[in-house]
C-alpha cells in the first residue's frame, strides 16, 4: 500500500542490482546495461564489489541518463534485490516512490518491506527449479530471468536484448537458444504477473552516438600496445591486474607472428612489485619500451627503484590504478590518493611525471603518450587511473590513432652519431633543455658505452662526489622538469556563462561528476570556471587560471587534498585561495556532492566577504 506516488521517470533513474559475488550476476547485469545502450540511452554502470571471490555481497549500480550524465548519482529508484544477506539495507536505500524487484519464492513478512515503495515479486528460484535440473544453470538462468523481467517492466524492446545475447554467444547456438528462452520466460512472467510497464521507462533515444563502451584498464593495455610497449614485468594486484590481462590478450591478437606463432612482446609475472619495476627499468635502459601496472601497495614497494630511474634517467611507464589507501586500505574501492606518493616518489629530491586520464579514451591515449614522454624525458611516467574508470565500463569517445604517428624515442645517439665525432656525455646538457643524450647498449664497439648508476656522477657518467658535479646534475634535472611542463598534456578549461571570481580545478575520474555539477551550478546561478588538470608538472596555464580567480575549488577524491598541496608547493600559491572539495569514502564522487559543497561556500563567502583577507 504505497503512501507515496510511485516514481514516474523516463530515461533518468538509477537501478541497483544487489547480488552475491560469484553467481554470474555481473555478466547478466552488464548485458542489461548494454541493452539500455542498445536503445540509444546513455548508461553509467558501476560495480561495487568486495575483496572476495565468492559469497559476499556485491552491487551493480546503473545510472540511466538520457541527458548523458555519466557520473555516479547516488540514490536508487529501482532495486533488484537478489541477495537476502543485504535485504534490509537494500530496501532501506530505495528512494520514496521507488520500486523493489525481488525473488518472491520465499514468503517474507510485511515488516521486511516499506509502505512507500512499489513491490514487484517474481518467484525466480521456483521458476528456475521447475525449468532446469543443473544447479549451475539454475543459478545462471535466474540472472537472465530477471533481465527478461526488467525488459518488460521498463518497457524495453525485447529484440534489442535478444540481439545482444545472440551476438555475445555467437557461434554457440545452444547457449543462444537457452539464454533467449530464459529471457523470454522472465519477460513473459513479468508481463503476466506484474504491472508492466512501471513508472520508470527506457525510451528509444539517440544519445549514445558512435561512442564506445570500454573500461580504463582494457584501454590502458591497448594504449600500451599502440604505444609500442614490448616488455612487461608485473605483479597481480587489485584493481590493476586487468591492465596486464588486456595487454596480454591484445598482444596475442596483434603481435603474434602468423608464420611461426612467436610474439613481438615479452611478459613476465614477477615475484613482487620490486622485481616488476626492476624489469621495466632494465628493459627501458636497454632500449625497449616497457611498463608495469600496479596500485597503491605496489607503488610503496617500488619507491627505491623510482629513485634509481629518476636519477640514472631511465624511462619507465607505470600505470597506477588507484584504490583506497593507506596500507591495504579499501582494495576494491576507488580513490585518487597516490598523487603525492607518485609525484615525489623515493628518497632525496625527486619529482615525477603524472598523467591523469578522465575516462577509457584518455586511458588509451595517455598510456600511449606516456611512452613518448618517458623516452623523451628519460624518466618514469605514471598514468594515474583509478578503480572507478579502470574497472567499470564507461561510455566514451571511440579510440583513434593517426597512422602517420612515429614513436618519439627521444635523444638517442646512434653508432653513426658517435662515429661522426659527436661529443657524448651521458649527463651533459647540450642544448639547455636539461635532457641529455643516451646510448643503447650494444650500439658501438668502442664508443658511447657508459656506466649507469644511482650514485652521483659527472656529466660524462664518471663516479663523482664533487659538490659541483652534484649541483650541475640537480639543476639540469630541474631544467628537465621545466621542459616537461610544455610536453605533457595541456589542461582543459571551460568558462562559466558569466565572468566569475570562482574557479574549480579537478582531474581524472572526477570529470563526469564535475561536468554535471557545472550544469547544476549554472542553473542555480552559481558561476564557476573549470580547469581539468591532465598532468604534473603543472602547465603554466594552471597557475594562470589560479591567478585569474580569487578562489579556486580543488575537487579531489582523497582525504588530504593532495593535488591542492602540490599546487601550493609548486606554484607558491596562498593556501587560503585554494578551497578543498574532498570526497573519499571509496565511492565515486557525485555531482550533487560537488555542487552542494561549492554552493555552501559561495553563499558563505557572499555573506562574509573574505576577499580582503586574501593576499592579492
Amino acid at each position: 500500500m504505497s503512501t507515496v506516488q510511485p516514481l514516474q521517470k523516463s530515461n533518468d533513474f538509477v537501478i541497483k542490482f544487489a547480488n552475491i559475488n560469484g553467481t554470474g550476476s555481473a555478466s547478466a547485469n552488464e548485458l542489461f546495461a548494454r541493452a539500455v545502450m542498445g536503445m540509444g540511452v546513455p548508461v553509467a554502470p558501476r560495480n561495487i564489489f568486495p575483496s572476495n571471490i565468492q559469497g559476499l555481497p556485491t552491487w551493480y549500480e546503473m545510472r540511466v541518463s538520457g541527458e548523458g550524465w555519466l557520473g555516479r548519482k547516488g540514490g536508487c529508484d529501482l532495486m533488484v534485490a537478489m541477495n537476502p544477506q543485504t535485504w534490509d539495507r537494500d530496501v532501506a536505500e530505495l528512494s520514496p516512490g521507488g520500486y523493489l524487484f525481488y525473488d518472491s519464492t520465499k514468503m517474507l513478512p510485511r515488516s521486511r518491506f516499506r509502505d512507500d515503495i512499489t513491490v514487484l515479486g517474481l518467484p525466480l528460484t521456483e521458476i528456475c527449479t521447475r525449468e532446469y535440473t543443473d544447479p549451475r544453470q539454475r543459478q545462471l538462468m535466474k540472472n537472465i530471468l530477471y533481465v527478461g523481467a526488467l525488459t518488460a517492466l521498463l518497457d524495453m524492446d525485447f529484440a534489442v536484448v535478444e540481439g545482444l545475447i545472440s551476438h555475445q554467444f555467437r557461434g554457440k547456438e545452444k547457449l543462444i537458444a537457452s539464454n533467449i528462452q530464459a529471457l523470454k520466460l522472465g519477460y513473459d512472467e513479468a508481463r503476466a504477473h506484474l504491472p508492466c510497464p512501471i513508472g520508470l521507462r527506457v525510451e528509444r533515444s539517440d544519445g549514445v552516438g558512435n561512442r564506445i563502451f570500454s573500461n580504463g584498464n582494457d584501454a590502458c593495455g591497448l594504449g600500451a600496445v599502440y604505444g609500442g610497449a614490448t616488455v612487461v614485468g608485473w605483479y597481480p594486484i587489485t584493481p590493476s591486474t586487468s591492465v596486464i590481462e588486456a595487454f596480454i590478450s591484445y598482444c596475442r591478437k596483434f603481435r603474434t607472428d602468423p608464420d611461426n606463432g612467436m610474439g613481438r612482446y615479452a611478459i613476465v609475472q614477477a615475484e613482487d612489485e620490486l622485481a616488476a619495476i626492476g624489469m621495466v627499468i632494465g628493459a627501458s635502459w636497454n632500449g625497449a619500451r616497457a611498463f608495469t601496472a600496479t596500485s597503491g601497495p605496489g607503488i610503496s614497494l617500488m619507491q627505491e627503484f623510482f629513485g634509481l630511474a629518476y636519477f640514472a634517467e631511465v624511462p619507465a611507464v607505470v600505470v597506477n590504478v588507484q584504490r583506497g589507501g593507506p596500507s591495504t586500505g579499501m582494495p576494491t574501492r576507488t580513490q585518487q590518493s597516490d598523487l603525492i606518493a607518485c609525484a615525489y616518489a623515493s628518497h632525496g629530491d625527486t619529482k615525477h611525471i603524472l598523467l591523469f586520464p578522465e575516462d577509457p579514451y584518455e586511458c588509451f591515449t595517455l598510456t600511449a603518450q606516456a611512452f613518448d614522454l618517458a623516452e623523451r624525458l628519460q624518466t618514469p611516467v605514471f598514468v594515474m587511473s583509478d578503480l572507478d574508470i579502470g574497472m567499470n565500463e564507461v561510455l566514451c569517445k571511440p579510440f583513434d590513432w593517426d597512422d602517420s604517428r612515429q614513436y618519439d624515442r627521444g635523444k638517442v645517439m646512434s653508432a653513426a652519431d658517435l662515429d661522426s665525432g659527436k661529443n657524448f656525455g651521458r649527463y651533459l646538457d647540450v642544448d639547455g633543455d636539461g635532457i641529455p643524450y643516451r646510448t643503447i647498449p650494444g650500439t658501438h664497439p668502442t664508443k658511447g658505452a657508459f656506466f649507469s648508476r644511482g650514485t652521483t656522477r659527472n656529466a660524462y657518467a664518471k663516479y663523482s662526489e664533487a659538490g659541483t658535479d652534484y649541483v650541475y646534475n640537480m639543476e639540469r634535472l630541474r631544467r628537465k622538469f621545466v621542459t616537461a611542463r610544455k610536453l605533457v598534456p595541456a589542461p582543459v578549461s571551460q568558462k562559466a556563462s558569466q565572468p566569475t571570481r570562482y574557479g574549480a580545478i579537478y582531474y581524472g575520474s572526477t570529470s563526469p561528476a564535475m561536468a554535471e555539477a557545472f550544469a547544476m551550478l549554472e542553473k542555480q546561478g552559481v558561476h564557476v570556471d573549470l580547469m581539468r588538470v591532465r598532468a604534473f608538472p603543472f602547465a603554466d596555464e594552471v597557475m594562470d587560471f589560479i591567478a585569474d580567480h580569487d578562489y579556486v575549488f580543488v575537487v579531489e577524491q582523497n582525504e588530504s587534498a593532495q593535488l591542492r598541496t602540490m599546487i601550493i608547493n609548486e606554484g607558491d600559491i596562498d593556501p587560503k585561495r585554494l578551497i578543498r572539495v574532498l570526497h573519499y569514502d571509496g565511492t565515486p564522487i557525485t555531482a550533487g556532492f560537488i555542487a552542494g559543497r561549492i554552493t555552501d561556500i559561495v553563499k558563505q563567502n557572499n555573506v562574509t566577504p573574505l576577499r580582503q583577507q586574501v593576499a592579492s
Binding site: L164, V231, A266, A275, G282, N286, F399, T446, G454
Partner: protein, 353 residues
C-alpha cells in the same frame, strides 16, 4: 688501491685476439678496491675470458647491485654498457634487459650480501625463470663497505674480525641454484685464476642461467684466523673436483688425455666443455648427485670447487616466452602498432558489446 693510471701506449707486440683487440680493450676504470682484494682477480679473469673468447665488448651488458662486488663492473669491460642498480635487485633489472634484447651477453655481478641477504628473492627467481645470463657472486661472507658485518653466506661458527661468532646457518647459493634449475653451476676461488677463467668462459658460452660462486676473500675484514672465507682457509679446504678447458669450434684440440679421465660436454653453440677429473669419479650432469655431494663435502668442512653441474640441453627465458628472434628493442612502429584500421574494428566491437 692504486692511483697509478695505466699507460695508454702499447708495445707493438702486444697480443691481439681474433677481433684485433688487446686485453687493454677489455679493461675498465682503475679499481678503487683494497689492495689484494679478491674481487680484482675476478675482474681480471673476466677480462681474460672475454679476450680469449673474442667477444666484442659492446655485445656485453654488465649489471650489478650494491656493494664492493657490485662496483667492479666499472673496473672491467669499459666499452660495455654497465648498470649499477639497487641493493639486491640486479637480477630483475638484468631480466628486463635480457627481455629487451636477447642478443647481448648479460653478465650479472653481485656479492654475498647482495645476492644471499637482501637479494635472495630476486636471485632465486631469476634462476628459476631461466634467464640467459652469467651470474657471478663475489663471495667473501662479509659486508665490506659498512665495515665487517656478517653476510648470509658466512659459515656458522666463523668469527668476525672483532671476534664475534656467527650463529646463523649459511646460505649456499650453489645449492640454491641447483635446486632452482640453473643449468650451469660452478664454484671457484679468486686465488685460483687457472680454475676461474675457464669456468667464466664456459658460462659465457652457455645458454641459460649460469651461476659462478667465487669465494673471494676480503683482505680488510675477513682474512683472519677463525674466518672460513680467508685465503688460507680456502686454500686448505679447497676440494677441486675437475679442471675445465673450453674448446671453441674454431680451436684445434692439442692436449691429449688418458682415457677415462676426460668428460666432454657439447653446448648449444658448439663449444665443448672438456672436464678433467681430479679426484674420485664425479658426474656433473647429475643434478641430484651434485646436491648430495655438496652436502656431504660441506659436512666434512670442504669447499667443493669446479664445474659442479651443467645441462647443455637446458632452455632459457626467451624460449619459454616464445619471443621473436629479432631483439624487441629493435622493433619499430611498423612491427608494434596495429594501426587505425584495427582500432576502428575494435571500436565497432565495443559499440555492440
Amino acid at each position: 688501491m692504486t692511483y697509478l693510471a695505466k699507460p695508454k701506449l702499447l708495445r707493438p707486440d702486444t697480443p691481439k685476439n681474433a677481433l684485433g683487440y688487446t686485453k687493454r680493450d677489455y679493461e675498465g676504470a682503475i679499481s678503487t678496491l683494497c689492495a689484494g682484494c679478491g674481487h680484482d682477480s675476478i675482474s681480471a679473469s673476466v677480462v681474460q675470458a672475454c679476450f680469449d673468447l673474442d667477444i666484442e665488448p659492446h655485445r656485453v651488458a654488465k649489471l650489478s647491485g650494491i656493494g664492493c662486488s657490485s662496483k667492479t663492473p666499472d673496473y672491467f669491460l669499459g666499452n660495455s654498457h654497465g648498470f649499477n642498480t639497487t641493493h639486491g635487485r640486479m637480477p630483475s633489472v638484468l631480466t628486463g634487459a635480457a627481455m629487451a634484447n636477447r642478443d647481448l651477453l648479460y653478465l650479472g655481478v653481485s656479492g654475498d650480501g647482495d645476492s644471499a641477504s637482501i637479494g635472495i628473492g630476486q636471485f632465486a627467481h631469476a634462476m628459476r625463470r631461466g634467464v640467459n645470463m652469467v651470474y657471478i657472486v663475489e663471495n667473501n661472507g662479509v659486508y665490506g663497505l659498512t665495515k665487517g658485518q656478517f653476510s648470509a653466506t658466512a659459515d656458522k661458527g666463523s668469527k668476525s674480525k672483532r671476534g664475534v661468532v656467527n650463529n646463523d646457518s649459511p646460505i649456499d647459493l650453489v645449492a640454491l641454484a641447483l635446486q632452482l634449475g640453473a643449468t650451469y653451476v660452478a664454484r671457484s676461488f679468486s686465488g685460483d685464476k687457472e680454475q676461474l677463467i675457464p669456468l667464466i668462459k664456459g658460462a659465457m658460452r652457455h645458454r641459460g642461467p649460469a651461476l659462478i660462486d667465487v669465494i673471494s676473500p676480503c683482505v680488510t675484514f675477513n682474512n683472519h684466523a677463525g674466518s672460513t672465507k680467508s685465503y688460507d682457509y680456502v686454500r686448505e679446504h679447497n676440494e677441486a673436483i675437475n679442471r675445465l678447458d673450453v674448446i671453441l669450434p674454431k680451436d684445434k684440440i692439442t692436449a691429449t688425455y688418458a682415457p677415462g679421465e676426460l668428460r666432454r660436454v657439447v653446448q648449444h653453440d658448439g663449444s665443448v666443455l672438456c672436464l678433467r677429473k681430479l679426484g674420485e669419479d664425479y658426474d656433473p650432469s647429475d643434478r641430484v648427485g651434485a646436491m648430495n655431494y655438496l652436502q656431504e663435502r660441506h659436512a666434512l668442512g670442504e669447499i667443493v670447487t669446479g664445474l659442479i653441474y651443467v645441462d647443455s640441453t637446458g632452455e632459457e627465458l626467451h624460449r619459454y616466452l616464445n619471443t621473436v628472434e629479432t631483439p624487441l628493442n629493435q622493433l619499430g612502429v611498423a612491427e608494434l602498432c596495429p594501426g587505425s584500421e584495427a582500432l576502428e574494428a575494435l571500436n565497432e566491437s565495443l559499440r555492440r558489446g
